[in-house]
C-alpha cells in the first residue's frame, strides 16, 4: 500500500438528512379529465403545475397563476427523486427542463369498436344520433361481448337505454350481468325497467342476421324464470349498439420504463396491489391516475384525481419534507459497488455516488423496507431501527454470538 493510499481518509456514510427539499411544483402528464381535475385542484392548493399534453388542446386552467401548459409535448426523461424530480420535456420540437416535486401520470386509453358485429354502432355514435333527434323505433344494446364491459361504458349504455326508452323507442339490453356498483346505477337500472327497457341475460355471442331495414338477433335468454322451451328469443332491432373495447396505450411500456414504475399484466399502469389503490405507485411522489390504470367512470376518475391532489399537497408540505420514515444507509467503506441494491430496490431509491465509488440510498425515495439491507452481499447497508443486532437481540443473548 502506498503512502498516498494510506493517507486516504476513511469514507463516512452519508448522514440521513432531517429534511428533504419539496419543490412546490407538480408535473401532470395528460390533460384529460383526470389530469385536468388534478391540475386544477393542485393550483387551488397553491402549487405550481406544469401540464404536458400530447395533443393540441387540454382542459382549460381559466388563466390561473402558476399554471404552465405545454401542448404537443411529451415527457422524454425523468431524473431525481421525490421533492426534486428533473423532468425533460419535448414541447413543439424544443426540449425544456422543469424541476418538480411530484409527478402525476394521467394518460389515456386506446379504444376500438367491438369487432365483427354487423350493423353495430358505438355508444358515442348512438348518443350523436339521439342528440340529432333521429327517430329510432327499436334498439338493441349488446354488452359484455369480447371482454366484460367496463363499468364506465356499462353505465353509459344504461343511461342511453333509459333515455331512448323515454323517447318511446323499444329497447333490448343484452348483458352477462347488470353492473350497478356505483352510486345511482341501481336506481337508473330500475327506472330503465320501469320505462320498458327489456333486460336479457346473455352469455354467448348472439347470431345477427341483416334484414331489409333492421337486423334480426337470435339470442338465448338465460334469465331465471325463462323456461328452457322459451329461452330462444328472436329480436328485431333497427340499431345495434356495442361498447368500445379498451386497450392500454402503446406508449405505456416506454413511459413506464422512463418513470421506473411497473405495468400490470395487461399493460395498464399499476399492478394489482391493494396498497397502491389510491393512485400511488412504487415511487414516492409518482402517481398514476385515470384511464391509464384501466378504464374507469368519469365520477371515479374525478374522485381519484381529487384524492391524489390532496395527497400530493400534504406530501409536498411547505417547501421541505421532514424525513419521518426509516432510511437505509450505505457505508462506502464496505460497499463493493456491485449495485445489487440498485437492482433490488422496489422504490428506486438506490443510486450511484460516482465520486465515492459507492452505492447511495436517497432518503427522499427510501421507504425503509430493508430489502437492500438483507440482500447486500457486503453487509454495507443498515437501517438504524432494524439493525442485525436488533433483530436477533431477543433470542441470541443466550450464548450465541
Amino acid at each position: 500500500m502506498t503512502a498516498q493510499e494510506m493517507a486516504k481518509p476513511v469514507r463516512k456514510p452519508l448522514a440521513v438528512p432531517e429534511k428533504v427539499p419539496a419543490t412546490q411544483r407538480v408535473l401532470v402528464v395528460g390533460g384529460g379529465v383526470s389530469g385536468g381535475t388534478a391540475a386544477r385542484m393542485l393550483l387551488g392548493f397553491g402549487l405550481e403545475v406544469v401540464l404536458v399534453e400530447k395533443g393540441a388542446g387540454a382542459q382549460p386552467f381559466e388563466g390561473q397563476a402558476g399554471a404552465e401548459l405545454l401542448t404537443e409535448a411529451r415527457l422524454v426523461g425523468l431524473e431525481g427523486n421525490f421533492g426534486d424530480f428533473k423532468a425533460t420535456i419535448e414541447a413543439g420540437g424544443q426540449i425544456v427542463w422543469r424541476t418538480v416535486g411530484a409527478v402525476v401520470v394521467a394518460v389515456g386509453v386506446r379504444t376500438e369498436p367491438a369487432k365483427e358485429v354487423p350493423l353495430a354502432i358505438t355508444l358515442t355514435d348512438f348518443r350523436r344520433r339521439m342528440a340529432a333527434g333521429e327517430p329510432i323505433r327499436n334498439v338493441c344494446f349488446l354488452m359484455d361481448l369480447e371482454q366484460s364491459t367496463p363499468l364506465a361504458e356499462f353505465s353509459l349504455g344504461l343511461q342511453f337505454a333509459f333515455e331512448a326508452a323515454q323517447k318511446k323507442t323499444s329497447v333490448y339490453f343484452l348483458c352477462r350481468d347488470v353492473k350497478v356498483a356505483e352510486e345511482g346505477l341501481e336506481r337508473l337500472y330500475r327506472s330503465a325497467r320501469e320505462e320498458g327497457v327489456l333486460f336479457i341475460k346473455n352469455e354467448a355471442r348472439p347470431t345477427i342476421a341483416p334484414l331489409a331495414e333492421a337486423a334480426s338477433i337470435q339470442v338465448m335468454d338465460l334469465s331465471p324464470g325463462a323456461g328452457s322451451h322459451l329461452s330462444r328469443l328472436c329480436l328485431t332491432a333497427e340499431v345495434i349498439v356495442v361498447p368500445e373495447a379498451f386497450f392500454p396505450s402503446e406508449d405505456n411500456p416506454g413511459l413506464a420504463a422512463l418513470l421506473a414504475t411497473d405495468l400490470d399484466t395487461k399493460g395498464y399502469f399499476q399492478p394489482a396491489n391493494v396498497r397502491l389503490a389510491v393512485g400511488r405507485t412504487n415511487r414516492r411522489g409518482l402517481f398514476v391516475l385515470g384511464d391509464c390504470r384501466g378504464p374507469s367512470s368519469v365520477a371515479e376518475t374525478i374522485e381519484r384525481a381529487e384524492a391524489t391532489a390532496q395527497e400530493i399537497a400534504s406530501l409536498l408540505g411547505e417547501g421541505e419534507k421532514k424525513v419521518d420514515w426509516p432510511v437505509a444507509v450505505v457505508d462506502p467503506e464496505k460497499c463493493a459497488y456491485c449495485l445489487t441494491c440498485n437492482r433490488i430496490c422496489p422504490h428506486k431509491a438506490a443510486g450511484m455516488n460516482l465520486e465515492e465509488e459507492s452505492a447511495v440510498i436517497y432518503a427522499s425515495a427510501c421507504y425503509g423496507c430493508g430489502l437492500c439491507v438483507a440482500e447486500c452481499p457486503s453487509v454495507a447497508i443498515t437501517i438504524e431501527k432494524f439493525s442485525d443486532a436488533a433483530l436477533v437481540s431477543s433470542f441470541a443473548s443466550g450464548g450465541a454470538g
Partner: protein
C-alpha cells in the same frame, strides 16, 4: 433447544395479526415476536441465528402475494425461507421447523393457528427425537 418459538413479523401485516391474536388470547408463552419493516428485511442469517439461539421453531409472517408494500418483499422472504430450509436439512434438522406464512392484518385467528400447529409439530418431533 429451549423449546422457544420465534415469529418474524412484517410490521404491516404480521405484527397487526399478532396484536389481534394476542387480544384474543391463547398464544403460548414460548412465542417471541420480532418486528421487521418488511419480511424482505429478514436474511438467512437471522433465521439461522434464531435456531442457534435455541429456538425450536421459527415462523415468518409476510404480506399476502400482491399486497406487499415493498411490492416484492414477501417473495424475497419466501425464497430465503426455502434456502434456509435446505441448510437445516443439510445439518440434520427438520426443515418443517421453519414456516413461511402469508397473512393479512386482520387474520389474528390464522396467526394463532399457525403458531399452534408449529407448537404441536416441534413438540411431537421432540418426543420422537
Amino acid at each position: 433447544m429451549n423449546g422457544k418459538l420465534v415469529a418474524f413479523c412484517c410490521e404491516r401485516s404480521g405484527m397487526v395479526a399478532w396484536q389481534e391474536a394476542q387480544a384474543n388470547g391463547g398464544l403460548p408463552a414460548e412465542l417471541e415476536v420480532v418486528a421487521v419493516p418488511c419480511a424482505g428485511r429478514i436474511g438467512m442469517v437471522h433465521l439461522l441465528k434464531a435456531f442457534e439461539g435455541g429456538a425450536a421453531g421459527v415462523m415468518v409472517f409476510a404480506c399476502i402475494k400482491d399486497s406487499c408494500d415493498s411490492l416484492r418483499g414477501n417473495l424475497h422472504a419466501e425464497k430465503r425461507c426455502e434456502s434456509t430450509r435446505a441448510i437445516l436439512r443439510s445439518v440434520g434438522m427438520e426443515p418443517e421447523r421453519l414456516e413461511f406464512c402469508s397473512i393479512a392484518p386482520p387474520m389474528g385467528a390464522e396467526f394463532s393457528e399457525v403458531v399452534r400447529t408449529m407448537m404441536e409439530k416441534v413438540s411431537s418431533e421432540e418426543r420422537e427425537g
